[in-house]
């Protein structure tokens, strides 16, 4: 019984970070109807940014978070102008291909520079012990920071003028444009935000688990599963979906080898999409 509670708590902690990653995906999806296949690459970039900042420049691990958020934002805005802007209004197939090709370039560069071996960032943080179980400090802090970032995103979207503009563009781009909102700038801003969130999630994941250059695909998949669970364009649903996925993963790991996790997630993805095309946690919508 105690074991199950411990499993649930850890699943919630890890799952919230998956939720953060998915928020980046779902924000872009909801605002500009673009399926961003550079998402996995952005997560990996966050991981390696942490690795470089800590081992190269000697910055404390958690001090890297704001740098990664800001850097990710600017990279995202740049990506929007390079790979996405020309594709707006073209068939969705073309956006999938263009973001996929950027993903190839990033992963290709990463593989050429770092190879495909395992990397690890040492974070020494005391855990919290409860009965026989110890909850790792990195997991707890990752969940807390996720809550802070998600809260800030909420404040931005619902209590600032710019956030209101983002929601207006998500609702109806033409109407927003007619009301005098510079929609193109809002789109690039949203893409930047989405990439920044993905990078931050990658950084937090890197404090918890070892990672490789090729890890992006698996985490991108998790984000898609979470998005399917939470409903498209729904950041609050993404957080709940992330927690649900964290729990599923925690329990699945008890019964089968880890290499099957991805398969289970994919089955979940397809089943959820077919049974709940609008998402399981889609009761609110931005």
């Amino acid at each position: 019984m105690l074991g199950i509670i411990a499993l649930i708590i850890d699943g919630v902690l890890i799952g919230s970070v998956y939720g953060l990653a998915a928020m980046g995906l779902t924000l872009i999806w909801g605002v500009m109807n673009v399926v961003n296949l550079t998402h996995g690459a952005a997560i990996v970039a966050g991981m390696f940014a942490l690795y470089l900042l800590t081992s190269g420049l000697g910055i404390a691990p958690y001090a890297a978070l704001p740098l990664i958020l800001v850097g990710g934002f600017f990279v995202g805005v740049g990506l929007y102008w390079i790979a996405v802007h020309r594709m707006i209004g073209r068939p969705p197939l073309m956006i999938l291909l263009s973001t996929f090709s950027v993903n190839l370039v990033v992963i290709g560069l990463g593989t050429a520079v770092w190879g495909t071996g395992l990397f690890n960032v040492q974070v020494s943080l005391p855990g919290i012990t409860w009965q026989r179980y110890t909850f790792s400090g990195t997991h707890i802090l990752a969940a807390v920071l996720t809550a802070v970032i998600a809260g800030s995103l909420y404040l931005f979207l619902y209590h600032t003028r710019l956030g209101k503009a983002v929601r207006a563009v998500a609702n109806n781009r033409e109407a927003a444009e007619l009301s005098g909102i510079p929609t193109t700038r809002v789109l690039s801003l949203s893409f930047g935000l989405g990439v920044a969130l993905a990078g931050a999630a990658g950084m937090l994941i890197a404090t918890m688990f070892p990672f490789t250059v090729l890890a992006g695909d698996a985490y991108q998949l998790k984000s898609f599963v979470v998005t399917a669970l939470g409903g498209l364009g729904n950041p609050a649903g993404a957080l709940l979906g992330g927690v649900a996925l964290g729990l599923v993963e925690g329990f699945a790991a008890q019964f089968m080898p880890v290499s099957w996790t991805l398969v289970i997630e994919f089955v979940l993805f397809v089943v959820v999409l077919i049974i709940f095309p609008r998402g399981v946690f889609a009761f609110t919508r931005t």
Binding site: V35, F100, S101, V102, L109, S259, V270
Partner: protein, 336 residues
């Protein structure tokens, strides 16, 4: 197509197949593939053309989904890898002859693709694309854990396996001609689908799926059929390819790089065109040969593929054939 207005074609009856120029162009290409390496017993050319034939097979069949129906299949390599696994297993463990093993692999993979396709047929656009990459992950995880297929270590064929084909030297030629036959079948399959009502339905799905459904195209069924159809010949190619190397393991069989390359080829040549898939494959094979031998670029193959794909998608979305059609519109009547 309103060709009557330009006065080019007024007669709407279809031209008999043997009087269509494209039918003979394809036959010429296949004949060239057969004849070229035979002249002077050129083994080096044969190996390079063998790879081109594999690329053309993969790209032509991917084109059924990506080009005609407008659906990305990220996991097209699954067909190739599974075909390889099934036939290598049948040959090594059950001592089946090559032809029977090939046929069984092709049919099994097609049926499996139909089952998968029917499972994910209700998904559209990006979701379908993601589900196809999930199938790749799923199959790979299954194979890596499946003991009869050697798990992650893979399967080996003994060298005596080439004896029925007349020894290793002759066997390589036999395999090459069989692969060229598979390539030819891929070209004719693409052509047959393109000129059929089924192909018209796929094209309609690619243009506007909602409109196609309203007009009576059974979109989910057509997508599943196209997915299954595009599995058969790549499975045969995979069977022959891994029979040739006498060795198969998950990392080679399900190399996502090859799926990606097939997509680059289709986009390079021109989505939805048969000539484009073939020329794109040949050009890419040449480029790849150059990149692999170049010291600077061999590490950056993925980057080059990515940049190439991005440039095509951004600036020449019609690919090579789109450019040719734009320059010489009359080519549309000759090249498909």
């Amino acid at each position: 197509m309103n060709t009557a207005a330009t006065g080019a074609i007024v007669d709407d009856r279809p031209t008999p197949i043997l009087r269509r120029p494209f039918f003979w162009i394809m036959a010429l290409v296949i004949a060239a593939f057969v004849a070229a390496p035979l002249i002077g017993d050129n083994v080096e050319l044969r190996e390079s053309l063998l790879l081109a034939a594999v690329y053309i097979t993969l790209a032509s069949n991917l084109n059924l989904m990506l080009g005609y129906a407008g659906y990305i299949n990220f996991g097209s390599i699954v067909f190739f890898g599974l075909g390889g696994y099934i036939s290598v297993y049948l040959i090594s463990a059950l001592n089946w002859p090559l032809a029977a093993a090939e046929l069984a692999a092709g049919i099994a993979v097609s049926l499996l693709a139909l089952v998968f396709g029917l499972g994910i047929l209700r998904l559209r656009g990006a979701f379908f694309a993601l589900a196809t990459s999930g199938i790749n992950e799923g199959v790979q995880a299954f194979v890596a854990n499946f003991e009869p297929w050697g798990g992650s270590a893979g399967l080996y064929l003994p060298t005596t396996i080439f004896a029925p084909l007349g020894g290793p030297m002759r066997a390589l030629w036999v395999i090459y001609f069989l692969l060229v036959a598979v390539m030819g079948a891929s070209l004719y399959l693409s052509y047959a689908v393109k000129t059929s009502k089924f192909g018209l339905g796929l094209m309609a799905i690619g243009q506007n799926e909602d409109a196609a459904v309203v007009l009576g195209v059974p979109a989910p069924l057509y997508k599943a059929l196209a997915y299954s159809l595009s599995a058969f010949l790549p499975a045969l190619a995979g069977g022959l390819y891994f029979f040739k190397s006498a060795f198969i393991q998950p990392a080679d069989a399900f190399d996502l790089g090859l799926s990606t390359e097939a997509m680059v080829i289709v986009m390079l040549g021109g989505r939805g065109t048969i000539t484009g898939a073939a020329i794109g494959a040949y050009l890419y094979e040449e480029l790849r040969g150059f990149l692999l031998t170049s010291q600077t670029f061999s590490n950056f193959q993925l980057v080059v593929s990515g940049v190439l794909l991005l440039v095509i998608v951004l600036f020449v979305p019609g690919g090579l054939m789109g450019w040719i059609y734009g320059r010489w519109p009359r080519m549309k009547q000759v090249l498909e």
